[in-house]
């Protein structure tokens, strides 16, 4: 038991050191590099909290995609000029803010220590109803069946975010390809990596999606891996992103949520409740929705990392 505790404390100490490093970093690039390492450690923390589903998502979205989003944004900002930066607060104000934040941490820490015992839990209710869903992974069961509406809204949020990001494009860049242009790398290690890694990534993503029904994994994790592989090809300059006006791309982003809504409406018509799955077909329907949603999630995540179309010239 003490070995586990040592592992936990090691993880917590590393995470704290990295978080302090992020806040203190002099350069934005360093802060982002530390943030990515922090995300990797948090992934292990989630494993220790018995949340392997969350760990997969944190590793893929929290560390991988967020990190690359911020790196690419820093690169773009460096080229257009840093813009106006607000004054950093003076010493007295900084100390006051520090005290306030310490108070917030102390209050939250007290709340964590004062959580009720025994803890309230819905685990028993989930266990009692999971058999009806024909799924083995309780988290997938909650996401797709008991709280299906949340998942639908979450998929819709991604589509809305893509629309929001695109609508922030400057007028002269509108309808251009998302993201800043990159120079093409014809050969060398990067081009090799960008050619060999994506096929492996696609296999891993399909595997993660498939096991998601019964083991940790699922559409958001698989979608994030697919998005990362597409972005890798983009970073090497091997893949060209279709312009925002491209209809197939827009259809891919919208297909998953649209299918999910259609299934929901069919449930309303035939079963009498929105998102009620047909009897005996629960698992096939969920699998179909998950597959189409994965493609939509992957496209939406990749487009979100790419950001709005930019009008600036090649670097």
């Amino acid at each position: 038991m003490t070995v586990w505790l040592a592992l936990d404390l090691l993880l917590a100490a590393g995470s704290l050191a990295l978080a302090f490093g992020v806040v203190r970093a002099r350069r934005v690039f360093t802060a982002i590099a530390l943030f990515i390492a922090h995300g990797l450690l948090l992934t292990l923390a989630w494993v220790r909290l018995d949340a392997v589903d969350v760990a997969l998502t944190e590793g893929a979205i929290g560390a991988g995609l967020s990190g690359v989003l911020l790196l690419a944004a820093r690169h773009r900002l460096a080229r257009v000029g840093a813009g106006r930066v607000a004054e950093a607060p003076g010493r007295a104000v900084t100390i006051a803010i520090g005290l306030g934040c310490a108070a917030v941490t102390a209050a939250l820490g007290y709340a964590v220590l004062a959580l009720p015992d025994p803890a309230p839990s819905l685990a028993a209710e989930v266990a009692a109803s999971l058999a009806a869903t024909e799924l083995g992974n309780p988290v997938t069961g909650v996401l797709m069946v008991f709280r299906g509406l949340d998942t639908l809204l979450e998929a819709a949020v991604l589509v809305l975010a893509v629309i929001g990001v695109w609508s922030l494009a400057p007028d002269r860049a509108w309808r251009g390809a998302p993201g800043a242009p990159w120079t093409v790398v014809e050969d060398g290690p990067l081009a090799l990596l960008a050619r060999l890694l994506p096929p492996v990534g696609i296999v891993v993503a399909v595997h993660i999606l498939w096991v998601g029904a019964d083991a940790p994994g699922g559409k958001f994790q698989a979608g994030a891996i697919l998005a990362a592989m597409g972005l890798l090809a983009w970073l090497a300059g091997l893949a060209r992103v279709p312009p925002t006006a491209s209809r197939p791309m827009r259809a891919t982003v919208a297909a998953g949520p649209a299918l999910f809504i259609a299934v929901g409406l069919a449930g309303l018509m035939f079963q009498g409740a929105f998102l009620a799955y047909p009897e005996g077909l629960v698992k096939p329907v969920i699998l179909l929705v998950e597959f189409v949603l994965t493609a939509s999630v992957a496209a939406a995540l990749a487009l979100l990392v790419l950001g709005p179309p930019s009008a600036d010239a090649r670097p």
Partner: protein, 97 residues
């Protein structure tokens, strides 16, 4: 036990992230620190899920599913914030000085 350790870590991350968000001036730094704050909130909730273990599950699956949703929505919010920062810089670049 891990629940308590990582719950306290989450509380600390909330404080550190909030501090960085208020003290650092660059917009991208603020977004990074906001993400630190968010991961702290999720960790506290994850500690709650861990304590709710029962019925053969190692942790309460309902909060875990909601954390998953939260991670994706937080990512979407981050991308919007980054797009806003890029647009602001772009406009200032164009404006006559």
């Amino acid at each position: 036990m891990s629940g308590t350790v990582f719950g306290l870590l989450g509380a600390a991350l909330v404080g550190i992230g909030l501090f960085g968000m208020l003290v650092r001036a660059q917009p991208l730094m603020r977004i990074v620190c906001f993400n630190l704050l968010g991961s702290g909130v999720f960790l506290v909730f994850g500690a709650v899920a861990r304590r709710g273990a029962g019925a053969g599950f190692a942790a309460d699956p309902v909060p875990q599913a909601i954390i998953l949703t939260g991670l994706v929505v937080a990512f979407a919010a981050t991308t919007l914030a980054v797009a806003l920062v890029l647009r602001l810089a772009d406009d200032e670049d164009e404006a006559p000085r």
